[in-house]
């Protein structure tokens, strides 16, 4: 460093090095002004959650920026309507700000609904709408009455909290739709998939796993989401919720209103996706389903382990920094990286809560730097200090890594490559490998004196199994391959990845059931 980068006094308690002192990390605070937080705003939280509802109209009520910067930037795919990829804005002008934007909003809605015939419409309030006092509830009521298309306000004024509050606003908007259709429920076990956004088709992969287990998927909220499916989501017997906080609000509301239990899962990494499937199977208490799940997990892991082993050989001993939106993804990444022989030396999130960080700390090794709501200078400081070889984050974090000659893996919603499920884990390994083992780093000034990377997984396609691997699919010892991990199973070694304590923290995951 030219000069050591100091941490602002106001942020010191949001940074912790594991093992240095008793664990304490402040979080869930408003970002420090002038800290160049990587966070966005309330509007962003709502927009990311509702965006993948493909047959709804999404109108951003405000000046043009909020709509322009969220136009078709995410990798959320649709199996049908592409309406969600359009960017609609009331594009408020000075006179609207002075005289109020209600009339313009109403006229825009009526015209857009007439033109695009959506199944429902969401209207997002941006900062300015909160200030000028437009009554969006009244506007939406009138538009619903006039058009017959349910029009729902989303109270997402940017300054009124954090991205998390945007999740809450989105869940409140969804809650208005759930339970409004009474088509007959399907026979047999049924779930809603919550909190997966179908980035690069991930929801389809997850859905396929559940269907192979014999579970009906009533709705996917919101990846490849459909308004009519969301309307009958209350018919499901279980909500399966991914992501740290974005959809937990809806799951809680549905628990209160319809007594639907929920489990909290992640689909990233072999261990977490396997646990997700087992947890769901366990909820239905059906030995045949558990048998099918065991077989599925076994088949999938057998298919991918040979490839993962080759990547691990190339990546063993590398060090990673992980900075995610929600903390839940960080847990999965720490575990996934371990599967690849990569140690996490920096871990943090934009929106983690105290329980999240407690769990993250317990997952990580001593010396790992934990960060809440960090910024480019701190990330650079700790990447330099820890000697991280890889940064996992989103587009905003990418230049920090590249300028320092450090590899990068995009794990955010703009990516166009599937990283969830078993095949996603192979893609993830390939993403990490492709960056960490690229020859370009040896030309970067900061790495100039490092020996060139000579770790190659060798020639040959990465889809064929390697017969020499010690993966024992007949007598698996690994809970990810055959049994459901029980509380307190933290300390045993894993038969698949042979890592000690890889299950630590799993038991602490929230499982709220009826």
């Amino acid at each position: 460093m030219r000069e050591a980068i100091d941490i602002l006094d106001a942020r010191r308690r949001q940074v912790h090095t594991k093992g240095s002192q008793p664990f304490q990390l402040d979080c869930e605070k408003h970002s420090v002004a002038g800290s160049v937080s990587q966070r966005a705003c309330v509007f962003c939280g709502s927009r990311v959650v509702l965006y993948p509802i493909t047959d709804a109209l999404h109108l951003v009520h405000g000046p043009i920026g909020c709509a322009a910067y969220t136009w078709d930037i995410r990798g959320a795919q649709s199996s049908g309507s592409q309406l969600h990829r359009m960017s609609f804005s009331t594009d408020l002008r000075e006179k609207d700000v002075i005289y109020g934007g209600e009339k313009k909003c109403e006229a825009a809605l009526i015209e857009l609904i007439g033109r695009y015939r959506p199944k429902a419409a969401f209207v997002y309030a941006t900062c300015i709408v909160g200030l000028i006092g437009d009554d969006l509830e009244a506007v939406c009521r009138r538009v619903t009455a006039q058009t017959g298309v349910e029009t729902i306000p989303v109270h997402s004024e940017g300054f009124a909290g954090s991205k998390k509050d945007g999740y809450t606003a989105a869940c409140a908007a969804l809650d208005r739709l759930v339970g409004t259709s009474e088509s007959p429920p399907p026979d047999g076990p049924s779930i809603n998939i919550l909190g997966d956004f179908n980035i690069a088709g991930e929801t389809w992969i997850i859905r396929d796993y559940y269907e192979r287990m014999g579970v009906n998927v009533i709705s996917t909220i919101t990846g490849d989401g459909r308004v009519d499916d969301i309307r009958r989501a209350h018919q499901a017997q279980l909500n399966v919720v991914q992501c740290s906080g974005s959809m937990k609000g809806l799951a809680r509301l549905m628990k209160q209103k319809y007594d639907i239990p929920f489990v909290h899962v992640s689909y990233f990494g072999l261990e977490d996706v396997s646990k997700a499937l087992y947890d769901v199977a366990e909820q239905f208490n059906d030995p045949a389903m558990m048998q099918r799940t065991t077989q599925l997990v076994r088949d999938e892991i057998s298919a991918v382990m040979p490839q993962l082993r080759r990547y691990r050989d190339a990546l063993q001993g590398k060090k990673a920094a992980v900075y995610t939106g929600g903390a839940f993804k960080a847990f999965s990444l720490v575990r996934s990286l371990r599967t690849l022989g990569v140690q996490t030396v920096i871990a943090g999130s934009q929106t983690g809560n105290p329980q999240d960080y407690q769990q993250l700390e317990s997952l990580c090794d001593d010396g790992t730097v934990l960060l809440d709501d960090t910024n480019p200078l701190e990330l650079a400081k700790f990447i330099d200090q820890t000697g991280a070889d890889l940064l996992i984050g989103g587009v905003k974090e990418r230049p920090i890594a590249y300028k320092l000659g450090v590899a990068f893996c995009d794990h955010n919603h703009e990516r166009k490559r599937c990283l969830a499920g078993y095949e996603g884990m192979v893609n993830f390994a390939n993403e990490v490998y492709s960056s960490v083992c690229s020859p370009v780093w040896s030309l970067s000034p900061r790495k100039r004196h490092a020996p060139p990377v000579k770790r190659s997984i060798g020639p040959g396609p990465l889809v064929t199994a390697d017969a020499g691997l010690p993966l024992n699919t007949k007598a698996p010892q690994c809970p990810t391959a055959a049994t459901v991990p029980s509380a307190g199973s933290d300390s045993h070694a894993c038969g698949v990845c042979q890592l000690k304590a890889h299950c630590s923290g799993l038991a602490a995951q929230e499982t709220e059931t009826a």
Binding site: S35, S37, I64, I132, K403
Partner: protein
């Protein structure tokens, strides 16, 4: 349908970005200057993300990060805390403070806040206050281009000083162009024996090398000392004639009597000729041989390629200055612009295009304040062979089954946006070659014979 704006109340797939984005881009072109948005956290984060997708470089933008309290009681406290924090952590040589719709609507008096901040900090020996540049950029007023223009004006208004006229000093006010364009403009002016004050100049900061050590604020940018000398320049050359409202060239003319030359963006031979003529005038020297040679090769290539492209029809869109000059350039090579539009609403686009020498081409239909759905609907009425504009036009190009030649900002579906050269004879040459090759490639692709020789 009116050619002033849209037939729809809503804007559908906007052909513009918001005012503060332009301001942040301009502030990034001043040495050691940190852009700072007075408003919600989301504004700075969204704009960072958007600009990173184009430039692929660090783009730190601070925020005063309003909460509900600041929205009700005003953002002075947040601004003051935010400024203290950026001075401590970034050690900037200047801070460029742009407002957002939020802080503008609640009526924050940012100039007063900044004065009070300076006074407050005056007694603090540990902190030296760098120039604080304030641009008023409510996003309900104008587009990113207006925000850029206003920020450049604010930079010059805050920093420029008068003094003895420097015959070799010339202010270049380039408009929103690429880092490669900025480097080329500097080179051209220097080759005339003149010293350019290119404001802003983000050519190094937004297209720089990897680092040995992390840089709080990346190197590069117009040196503040040079901007201070703006008022003593022999002339100001503003590239782009659509800006309305206050401009840096106008301020320098008013305050320091620096003659302002407002020229079109130099894309095409004739538009570039105007810039070179202006530089000949200021320097008293003929165009240096290497540039005259580039002009010669460009005209020669026009001749070599003219039959591949004559009579082709184009749709052009993007920032107004880009649109005006691109239409003029296409007219001089025999490509007819059938439709053009910009999300900008300066009100001068049509008039600027009307002044273009169209040659055998018919004047295009011009739509001001356009969005991509308007453009899509208007495209139904015309035949087009190619589109020229930024990445957001891809959806329409794909729908029409015609190629898109990418220029301007954002280009985030192709690599190397920072190195796209558009201006001067050399930039025109690159753009011309790209257009010709795009049309040749298309011709080859659709040919059943698959000719290897065209």
């Amino acid at each position: 349908m009116t050619d002033q704006g849209s037939s729809f109340v809503a804007t559908r797939n906007a052909c513009k970005m918001c005012t503060p984005l332009g301001a942040c881009l301009a502030f990034s072109g001043v040495e050691g200057c940190l852009p700072f948005l007075h408003g919600s956290q989301g504004c700075s984060t969204y704009i960072r993300r958007y600009l990173i997708s184009h430039f692929r470089e660090p783009m730190d933008i601070a925020s005063s990060n309003f909460d509900e309290q600041s929205a009700i009681f005003g953002g002075q406290n947040n601004l003051s805390i935010g400024l203290r924090h950026v001075l401590e952590s970034y050690r900037p040589k200047a801070v460029g403070i742009a407002t957002t719709c939020l802080s503008e609507t609640i009526g924050d008096d940012v100039s007063m806040f900044l004065n009070e901040f300076r006074n407050e900090q005056a007694g603090n020996a540990d902190v030296s206050i760098p120039p604080l540049i304030h641009a008023s950029t409510p996003s309900y007023h104008g587009s990113h281009f207006d925000g850029y223009t206003e920020a450049v004006a604010a930079i010059v208004d805050t920093l420029a000083e008068g003094g003895k006229r420097q015959a070799d000093l010339v202010n270049i006010l380039p408009g929103i162009v690429s880092p490669a364009d900025l480097r080329h403009l500097r080179e051209i002016v220097s080759d005339f024996g003149l010293t350019p004050v290119l404001t802003p100049d983000y050519s190094e900061r937004l297209d720089g090398p990897p680092w040995q050590q992390y840089q709080r604020i990346p190197d590069g940018g117009t040196p503040i000392d040079m901007i201070r000398r703006c008022g003593t320049a022999a002339a100001s050359i503003q590239l782009g004639d659509t800006p309305t409202g206050r401009t840096a060239a106008g301020i320098l003319a008013d305050k320091f009597d620096v003659p302002a030359m407002v020229l079109p963006m130099p894309i095409g031979v004739r538009a570039s000729d105007q810039m070179f003529a202006a530089l000949e005038n200021i320097s008293g020297r003929p165009t240096p041989k290497q540039h005259a040679d580039e002009r010669g090769r460009l005209v020669d290539s026009y001749i070599d390629a003219h039959k591949y492209i004559f009579g082709k029809c184009a749709i052009v869109f993007g920032d107004e200055d880009f649109v005006v000059s691109t239409v003029g350039f296409l007219a001089e090579i025999g490509i007819q612009t059938v439709l053009c539009g910009s999300g900008g609403q300066s009100g001068t686009l049509k008039a600027s295009i009307d002044q273009i020498e169209m040659g055998p081409s018919e004047p295009p239909r011009v739509i001001e304040g356009v969005d991509f759905e308007d453009l899509t609907e208007a495209a139904d009425d015309v035949h087009a062979d190619l589109m020229i504009g930024h990445s957001k036009g891809y959806k329409l190009a794909r729908q029409l089954g015609i190629p898109l030649v990418r220029i301007g900002l954002p280009v985030h579906d192709r690599f190397g946006a920072s190195r796209l050269l558009h201006v001067g004879y050399r930039g025109t040459q690159q753009l011309f070659d790209r257009i010709v090759n795009t049309l040749l490639e298309q011709r080859q692709d659709i040919s059943e014979m698959g000719y290897t020789y065209l």
